[in-house]
Amino acid sequence: MFAYVVRRILATIPVMAVVALFVFSLLYIAPGDPAAVIAGDQATPEDVERIRASLGLDRPYLVRFGAWVWDIMRGDLGVSIFTNLPVSTMIQQRIEPTLSLMVVTLLLAVSVAVPLGVLAAWKVGTWVDNAVMSFAVLAFSVPVFVVGYLLAYIFALELDWLPVQGYTAFSQGFWPWLENLILPAIALGSVYIALIARITRATMLEVLQQDYIRTARAKGAGQRSILFLHALKNAAVPIVTVIGIGIALLIGGAVVTESVFAIPGLGRLTVDAILRRDYPVIQGVVLLFSFVYVLVNLAIDLLYTLFDPRIRY
């Protein structure tokens, strides 16, 4: 197992190298010019050109790529073209809100979706099943930002229960922290809940047809024990896989959710950087996201061994 983990971690290096090459090349050929954004609308073409030169953006592709890779190998993600701050500092400033949003969303989604899926499978064909599946279709179909606006309108503007926007650091207290995350987590989690609930239902239905479930029933095991002890554990592998895949969904959704709820996280940092063509920031954040995604996949693979003892690495 240990050797496997080490092998997988080492395997991230070529993956990250490919991501780095891809991101850098894509940005190089993409249109747009940070110097023009910095210079503002009143600048002359000469001003723009001089700013480009001062930023080193007039250097050839290979020179720029080489310098960037060399910096990364030394653990330096570079400096933002606009803010003059190290990219690592900017990521550090923004990582807590995004991490908080993702953790709360994940907890909310799993704790709601799995019981819902189990319930739908248990009551298959009944109105409960239909209601859960209708909710899933609805949650899939409505965009995150629409859910976000609706929630903000109802729970913040009309009922005045929760704030419309913003983020409070965890260090300032649990409730102020959570208060700002409830609506965004529900908005972001709705698609995720639908996805997990559907896969849970489908897998549970399959497992509930198995012989060992019939045996458990014959032995007089209770319904709760059958569902959660025997069936759910055996249905866990595909569910965990979907949860893992869904992390990418969360990262994508966080970009929109953070904008709608004005949460100063990595998603907004990415969008701002793309709109301004702040290349070092875009490259740094994409590398980070890729790294996280690779690690999440590794964690999922390791979790398989917990749920299915037959899986060995």
């Binding site: 249109p31 747009g32 010019d33 940070p34 023009a36 954004v37 910095i38 210079a39 503002g40 609308d41 009143q42 600048a43 002359t44 073409p45 001003d47 723009v48 050109e49 001089r50 700013i51 030169a53 001062s54 933002s80 606009f82 803010t83 003059n84 900017m90 400033q93 923004r94 606006y149 903000a152 309108y153 913040a156 503007l157 009922l159 005045d160 229960w161 929760l162 704030p163 419309v164 926007q165 913003g166 409070t168 207290g173 649990f174 409730w175 102020p176 959570l178 208060e179 904008s259 709608v260 709820f261 004005a262 100063p264 907004r268 940092l269 701002d272 709109l275 301004r276 063509r277 702040d278």
Partner: protein, 534 residues
């Protein structure tokens, strides 16, 4: 106690046991009243107002850096950091004396050496500064700690306009060690002598910037008027909160989570007006001028007849309705390049934009220009609502003239890059793009880059016309208002003949604030002095 506070209390009690953490105490009413929460028009991503000349940077910079002179609401430069000035040697030598007691945020006194270094850096980047540099006998220098002098080869009557104007880049005064930075590089510290200081450790670019009151700031005794007069701060802390989503900002304002929103979307204004706690008014009486910008280097718009054909057919009303809507109090047609309601406003030569549109005549003129059906590349930034709207109207206009349109729907970052290309439109260049000019930049020719017509060195599109440039120089040399008016009328007429660009109309936008905030004024810059919160 409102519902949220009640719920907070309940939830707080419930969570203390679970988390072991006590919720952060709420700000006392007094402390909340001393903090103003402001949503600016854009993200404050950088903070050197000489290096980066975006409006949002200038607006924030006005809190941190002071200027020698400042425009008042009559667009007249008034003394700010300066105590007195003297013009000698037939108008060729300007000697200035600084007010006493001025200090930078690091506690150091403001010296003439700081001013000289700041002006020398500014003059490299600013259009008027460049003009002064071109005629200076020697660079501006300190005579003693409070006196500095600028010796010129010829008189420059607009010196105080240059030093006090609110167009970017403004002549902000920095400590000498920072002002010695290359004007094309960012300064590393943000130390000014303005009424507020940047709380650097709380600045999260893209999320928020915090300014705290500078206790040692010495305001002038005169009442405040835009950038002139006493800049007295009635709040201790100003938080700039960046909100990319207008609907969120609107809800936050209605919910009392922010105090002042600089630029609400027009569509959201009716909802804001219905809220009894929110006040909505015109943001800037000087408004904005929409711009239809040609590339003068390539056919067909290198022929003035093609440009005139478009101007003859263009309906400013169509553009303004698309950009602002049907509320006529927010916009007007504009047969001029200058800001309506300001002293130099003129409609001389503006007939081509007046009256019913004549499509047939425009088509004939276009044919005379030799237009051969080639595609017209129009760059349209989809992420800027006014530009997107103008682009759509232009698409319809050119099509109605029988032109083939290559509609390039892209983002502003790409337009910013591509408009700098002089290549033929089919090879990465362009024919037309849209932008808008702040009315404050169009009150006179001083900082009106878009109306320069000196060819290769001119603004994007590189128009070339000697008559416009000659009239512009007359304005700089004008000894009085009458002469200035005559020069501007001549310039307007020449630019209309030449169709340097086409103004698509004049429009205003709103700002909104909570009713417990007082002292907000309509101006090109959000001025925070004299603003109170109860």
């Amino acid at each position: 106690m409102d519902r949220r506070t009640f719920l907070k209390a309940g939830a707080g009690v419930a969570t203390i046991g679970a988390s072991g953490t006590i919720a952060a105490p709420a700000l006392s009413q007094g402390a909340a009243a001393r903090t103003l929460r402001f949503v600016p028009q854009a993200n404050l991503a950088n903070f050197d107002p000489i290096w980066g000349t975006q409006y949002v940077v200038r607006n924030a910079a006005c809190l941190v850096w002071d200027t020698l002179y400042g425009f008042d609401s009559n667009l007249t430069p008034q003394r700010q950091m300066v105590e007195s000035e003297e013009v000698t040697d037939g108008g060729k030598t300007w000697t200035f004396r600084l007010r006493e007691g001025l200090r930078f945020h690091d506690g150091e006194p403001v010296r003439a050496q700081d001013v000289a270094a700041s002006l020398n850096r500014w003059a490299v980047r600013d259009g008027m500064g460049q003009m002064i540099r071109a005629i200076q006998e020697e660079p501006v220098s300190a005579v003693d700690d409070r006196t500095f002098r600028w010796r010129l080869k010829q008189p420059y009557p607009k010196m105080l306009v240059a030093l006090g104007k609110n167009n970017t880049p403004m002549a902000f005064i920095m400590p000498e060690r920072l002002a010695r930075t290359d004007p094309f590089q960012q300064v590393s510290e943000f130390i000014g002598s303005g009424p507020m200081r940047l709380a650097r450790n709380e600045w999260v670019p893209g999320a928020r910037a915090v300014f705290t009151r500078f206790e040692q700031y010495v305001p002038r005794n005169e009442p405040p008027s835009w950038l002139a007069g006493g800049k007295r701060m009635n709040v201790d802390r100003i938080e700039w909160i960046i909100m990319p989503d207008p609907a969120t900002a609107s809800a936050a304002l209605m919910n009392g989570e922010i105090d002042w929103w600089e630029s609400p979307l027009t569509d959201l204004v009716p909802a804001l007006r219905r809220n009894r706690n929110v006040q909505v008014d015109i943001q800037d009486p000087l408004g904005n001028i929409g711009s239809f910008r040609f590339n003068h280097l390539h056919a067909p718009f290198n022929d003035v007849r093609a440009r005139r054909a478009v101007a003859m057919a263009l309906s400013q009303e169509d553009y303004m309705r698309a950009v602002v809507g049907d509320d006529r109090s927010l916009w007007q047609t504009l047969p001029s390049f200058f800001t309506p309601g300001t002293p130099l406003y003129t409609e001389a030569g503006g007939e081509i934009l007046k009256g019913p549109r004549n499509l047939d005549a425009a088509r004939r003129l276009l044919a005379e220009s030799g237009y051969n059906g080639q595609p017209i590349t129009v760059l349209v930034a989809q992420d800027q609502a006014p530009l997107k709207a103008m682009g759509e109207v232009t698409n319809a206009l050119l099509t109605s003239l029988g032109m083939r349109v290559d509609f390039v729907a892209t983002d502003w970052g790409t337009v910013g890059q591509r408009r700098a290309s002089k290549a033929p439109p089919g090879q990465g260049g362009w024919h037309i793009f849209h932008t808008w000019h702040a009315g404050a930049d169009c009150t006179n020719p001083a900082a009106y880059l878009a109306l320069r017509t000196h060819g290769d060195g001119a603004w994007f599109g590189w128009p070339s016309d000697e008559a416009v440039e000659a009239a512009r120089l007359k304005w700089f040399d004008a000894p009085n208002l009458e002469a200035e008016k005559a020069a501007v009328a001549e310039m307007n007429a020449a630019a209309m003949r030449h169709v340097t660009y086409i103004p698509t109309g004049f429009y205003k936008v709103f700002q909104a604030w909570r009713r417990n905030v007082t002292g907000v004024v309509g101006a090109p810059i959000p001025f925070f002095w004299n603003v109170s919160k109860s």
